[in-house]
Symmetry: C2
Subunit: 392 residues, 2 copies
């Protein structure tokens, strides 16, 4: 019963690793500004919610296509065509029960027990945990944070990825723009990773969930820009971030031609699909949601600049201005234990942050702040944190 033992060990370890512990500590406090979770403060827009409610009231409550109704797969193809300037077939897309589910199924498809999967760290912790539960070994490659003349930036050394490959390596997981760092791969880095994967026969699992949350002109560079149709890349994605649908638990995979039937079966034997009435909401999001996303991205850019300005003025807070995603990942001079700091910031600044310990190797000294929030609250939170750093 090795699996059960592993699961029990994971179960014991997980709540202690960070975010949940801080949330349990801070939840419900009067005046608390919670910036610890990876979601904005807007509910799902009405044009999406109403589409789902209409379908629900209309009786779309029966079993349906487990891989997604044709309409949602066609809408995904249209969405990709608009944003990536290529043509796509609806058959390339499989609906999943969240972005997390997409990642779990991608792992199931390409990595078995004892196989290794490389990922870039600091990272959203669920990827490595899901790999571990599936019996694979997650291998972190730490991004580099360098500062030149007071300006900091994260970067990925592809040579370090190459040096981490072993005969057991099956895949490289690339999250760009990255949660929590905001690191965003440029086209050259993507090309280098792709060539490495091709040369070594590895899969790429591309998590480009934040592709539209990019602040340097247009969406972020994508593997789609440089790949051939037969490159072994699985794109995991979610409706959560673009359309304020974190609570819906709907995601998708853009699959590889060789794996379409595999994923259909994996869906069948895990959740057997997504509610049809929710899929109607997903279609509305894809077909009618571009303007909402554009407003969210513009707002996030303002929010980023506001927070960076206030925290930067303290002279004690260090960060790379994130070119993508909607998090500020920062360290504070004199803070070495981010977990203790997150508890203290709850207690003495009444702001909820995620401790960098939750994000694995390379993140230990950092704190993560989600800035997709009303500007007045965000300004207040940033001022409170700045004051906290001055009292150190």
């Amino acid at each position: 019963m090795a699996l059960l033992e592993t699961l029990r060990a994971e179960a014991r370890a997980a709540p202690e690793s960070g975010i949940v512990a801080v949330m349990n500590h801070g939840r419900g406090r009067d005046g608390m500004i919670p910036l610890w979770a990876g979601e904005g403060d807007l509910p799902t827009p009405a044009f999406i919610a109403d589409a789902a409610s209409r379908a629900l009231a209309g009786g779309e409550t029966f079993y349906t296509w487990q891989k997604g109704i044709p309409e949602v797969r066609q809408a995904l193809a249209r969405y990709y065509e608009r944003h990536f300037n290529k043509t796509f077939a609806p058959e390339e897309f499989i609906l999943t029960g969240s972005g997390m589910h997409a990642i779990q199924l991608a792992l199931d498809a390409v990595a078995g027990k004892g196989d290794e999967v490389i990922y870039l760290s600091p990272a959203w912790p669920n990827f490595a945990a899901a790999a571990g539960i599936s019996g694979a070994v997650p291998v972190p490659v730490v991004l580099d944070l360098t500062g030149i003349a007071g300006s900091w930036g994260w970067s990925c050394d592809v040579e370090k990825i190459a040096a981490s490959i072993t005969p057991r390596t099956r895949a490289i997981f690339v999250n760009t723009p990255s949660n929590p760092t905001g690191w965003t791969a440029d086209r050259e880095t993507l090309q280098a990773i792709l060539e490495l994967a091709r040369a070594r026969g590895l899969w790429i699992i591309a998590d480009e969930i934040y592709a539209l949350f990019h602040y340097d002109g247009g969406r972020a560079p994508s593997f789609i820009d440089i790949m051939r149709d037969d490159d072994r890349i699985l794109f995991v994605n979610s409706f959560s971030k673009n359309w304020s649908m974190t609570g819906w638990r709907v995601g998708w995979i853009k699959t590889h031609p060789s794996l379409q039937q595999v994923f259909e079966n994996l869906i069948q034997y895990s959740t057997s699909g997504v509610a049809q009435f929710m899929q109607r909401g997903a279609v509305a999001a894809l077909d009618e949601g571009d303007a909402f996303v554009a407003r969210q991205v513009a707002h996030a850019r303002q929010a980023r600049d506001l927070v960076c300005g206030i925290l930067g003025q303290t002279g004690k807070v260090r960060f790379a201005v994130p070119p993508g995603a909607f998090y500020l990942f920062f360290s504070i001079d004199g803070v070495n234990d981010s977990r203790a700091a997150a508890f203290d910031i709850v207690d003495h600044a009444n702001v909820g942050l995620a401790p960098g310990t939750a994000f694995g190797a390379g993140g230990e000294k950092f704190l993560r702040l989600c800035f997709l929030r009303r500007l007045d609250q965000l300004e207040e939170a940033a001022i409170r944190i700045a004051d906290w750093t001055r009292r150190l």
Copy 2:
């Protein structure tokens, strides 16, 4: 990449095994009466759908408790207390992304690669398939169909289960009332299985999804009636059948005290929970749905008797009158290939049935008919099938 090879083999095999192939053959025909799927013909009742829609419109679209909001777990405890006459704690229940998901997680928790899990066959095919995908070995124990004086009945020989146990066996999966046979374990059989599991240190995964669809007075006997609190039994369940919510993909697990945290983690790293607005619908189903279920069960009993009467009169159709669930599992004299027969019944009777080949060992010669449907349509379908048998 053994896993990928396995998945590909499964992917090739699955569509050929039965139900989907017949559905693809028959879907969309004029006047077709589809009785192949495991769902009734009523949409989700309005009191459930409206509760979800209100929550959706009210902005319950954010991340929430991954194991289920407190209200739904409390409602589950109340539901069990009403129907099983014991007291339960909300903490015993974990919400899942379908009954299928509950089964997959239960398998993940108790059986690893190479472990064996025993199940009773004929059976709903997804259990064995999910076990196979998780790397475990599903071991069927075939139920017995015996006829005495023209009256047939399915039964479970617990000695056969005992004889199938090996050092690698980890669990016994018991679906009662059973899909597809309608076999319903009596209290003595449950007791014998429980004692066997206790003696051999095995888990029981109890699928009592159809417990309320029981036609011999009150709900079906349950392991809950005879178990101690610390018995190693996981109950997998779903909102699908009781409340016409097949399309929702929401289920639950009644866990063992030692595994509550394990399941919370398994949820986190698979789907990260169920949409909060759907959980409001689930609460309405649990708290306000007893009368709806009672009407459905009364209707199903009428429907069962109608179909059994018409098919029984042919003198060529053999079946055990099902004491539970909502399927008639029958053989026809002269029919040895149920898959070919299901195709022919589509073509020449315009009725959709599930071929017994889909239900594994012991089911090959049978056909499954779902009778949870309007009586006029059901009568028409039964007459068409009866005519088809007479033309054989």
